[in-house]
Symmetry: C2
Subunit: 473 residues, 2 copies
Amino acid sequence: MDWKPDRQSHLTIHVQIIEWMKTRIERGDWTVGTKLPTQRKLAAQFEVNRSTINLALDELKADGLLESKVGSGTFVANNSWNILLNKSQPNWQQHIEASIHKPNYHTIQLINEFEQKDHIIRLGTGELSPELLPTKKIERSLKSLSLESRAIGYSEPQGSKKLRSVLCEYLKKRGIDTAQENILIVSGALQALQLIAIGLLEEGAIIFQDNPSYLNSIHPFQSAGMRMIPVQRDGNLPDTLRIAKRKKQSLFYCVPTLQNPTGCNWTIGERQTLYHTCKQLQIPIIEDDVYHELLFEPSSSPALKSFDQSGQVLYVGSVSKTLSPGLRIGWVVAPQSVIQRLADIKMQTDYGSSAVSQEIVAQWLSSGLYESHILQLREQLKLRATFVENILEEQFKHIATWKKSEGGFYIWLRFKEPIVNKAFFLNLLKKNVLINPGYIYDTSDLHHIRLSYAYASLEELTVGLNSLIEVIS
Amino acid sequence: MDWKPDRQSHLTIHVQIIEWMKTRIERGDWTVGTKLPTQRKLAAQFEVNRSTINLALDELKADGLLESKVGSGTFVANNSWNILLNKSQPNWQQHIEASIHKPNYHTIQLINEFEQKDHIIRLGTGELSPELLPTKKIERSLKSLSLESRAIGYSEPQGSKKLRSVLCEYLKKRGIDTAQENILIVSGALQALQLIAIGLLEEGAIIFQDNPSYLNSIHPFQSAGMRMIPVQRDGNLPDTLRIAKRKKQSLFYCVPTLQNPTGCNWTIGERQTLYHTCKQLQIPIIEDDVYHELLFEPSSSPALKSFDQSGQVLYVGSVSKTLSPGLRIGWVVAPQSVIQRLADIKMQTDYGSSAVSQEIVAQWLSSGLYESHILQLREQLKLRATFVENILEEQFKHIATWKKSEGGFYIWLRFKEPIVNKAFFLNLLKKNVLINPGYIYDTSDLHHIRLSYAYASLEELTVGLNSLIEVIS
């Protein structure tokens, strides 16, 4: 929507707007049922008065091209104009509603949309601040990249050999001893989950998960028809799993190191119990380990995969939380038959991940660039965590509780009152503050927000947290 | 599988092999049921005699770790050793068989696998030869790429604004007048099909297509539970569609310009008939237009999208057939509601395409680099087509027929006898020649191969076509 009326034109502004809108509708860019932006927004975009917009819309309504629905806005109407001109458009809305994949929750769609706007303060984003990304260093490393022609052709089903071989070395530091043929390169950890959902599980399979869980805010398994069962990591875990599982196919999804959204870190005991229980019950585990390098202090957080002797654990890693999400590079480590299966589906889905991105990641991991970047990044995140914790200490102590961050991006802030509902989210959005409310990770949770100190600048964090206080009071 | 026995070790070679294999099994890299490579292959990989391999395998069989099945090879066995050591592995094979997504056909899995091997002559590949890729120029353009921090963060749902804005200009040359908000950046055209399958269609929806069709060799729609109906483009088309469609949801998939696999080019009349018929019947069209820039002579091949006034056509393009498949960049042009829906699912699937790849494509399209590359590429492909047609003329005239290529990569070679079956494919593979047999595009077709002059070198093309003649006689 970057069009603006031409002030030099012989046509009046409102006629130009009418013509522009007619063209959108005529060309089918705006199909029947499309909701128009608000008058305020249109006025801002076209840099005209609202009265001009009003005039144009009224005329289009009179033509029957648009209609207003009280309280919900202005829509493209299914009207006689269509029939007069003998136009027939597919009813896309009907297509969308009948189709297979679930839409994102509305709150998450709003988050995805508003995250892109410059004036928004992002208090919940699962992403590093642009200032924490090694942009200039990546730019420099691009200059020294030498490409082979084969490398920019279609990729091998499992991904670049060079990157997989570099990953074998890299994973040793995480206690994981593996081989190239046990690795699949994916376009980020989320794609790994998607491939596992459609490649290894039957419809109706059970996915066990922590509660709250990151999986509830995306839904690769839910969209594929799987049942999500939240479980508590307590003494009853073995019984809970045994009873819930019965004879069903199942899988346990977890983020044992710096869990998303809570930021909490499983103890060694909890890791071992989960692994051994799942082994005994033959429940495969997805270990999502994308945050482990961001632990502030060296601690005993071994990967489940490092004590996997039975091919039970599907290990998922990525550079999205450390180097750059824009590269879209992650990996899965798993038994060979699983990797081949997932690679086969990946070939059917997108024919592999970006070759240039794979080259960059291989270069960073093998040259030491990555390691030294992580050291700096960890210090930066630690400073930011402390900064936010100080604000919390000063301003939130009477209304909320939290745990000191052990690493990663998040503080799981718990309000004493159940105030975090959709209205709360929208009120903050009106103040240009975007939060990740707890209910996207656990629908029944109205107490938490996932506070991220990783994205917003220190100034924005201050302003954003102030707005939070304002909206609460 | 890059491990080799250590000839300096105090352990004998065959004991090292046993230990290595035990580790693979113990760690679960080779789960129960995994098929081992042939003895010949293992011997070649480890650089040892077959007798040494034999010795090692015999010992592992005696231990009960492996078992041979007559005629089909050696497998990891589900044996008492597992129970003795109290190991339990998930039955991955069972998981795979019960899961949602269909595997690729075996022939296609073999193609994907063998395409990666250096000694193989690829006579059917849908990919440019490494020597036709502008590798050095891409490398140079990387050096001048300046990245913004926001650009290497998570992408906007619809993809980079810069690239979408460049695409609006680029698409004008194809007669397509569109706007940024009607474009979605995808990781190649295949991902577009995948997103449309799960985002716009209900299970059981009908997909009309040409016969033979590229879609039969991948299967984004089939895996999502859709019905494929081949149709002839003749005078009966309107009736055929009306009768087959009834009240079902449906969609028409086509490659009107340089069709895959036949290389044929629809006439303007055929294009208009299809568009108007589909418009009348409200059947949306996917126009897969990835080859159009490779037409050898300027001809009247307008995009269906260029006369779309009803939002009926979902237009799909990509740089995979022209610039580099390894970049994994394509695009969809469609009504806004469709684009938003597909973008929403893409966010759930992989959170966007590689930022660096998007930057490169934007640079190439906007700087003129792309256009001048295409001009050269077209000439190169024309030379290659003529070269292959000369060989066909000399050696294949008595056994096969074909049409002179009008552009793109392919000649749809028709053998007079129905000789192109799986055995034929495998016999050629034994001679290190990989073909794309017609039956992967139409299961009942035993007459054709999709001959590609785009990948193999001229020398390889000569040798490969000779092998073809040898296997036939």
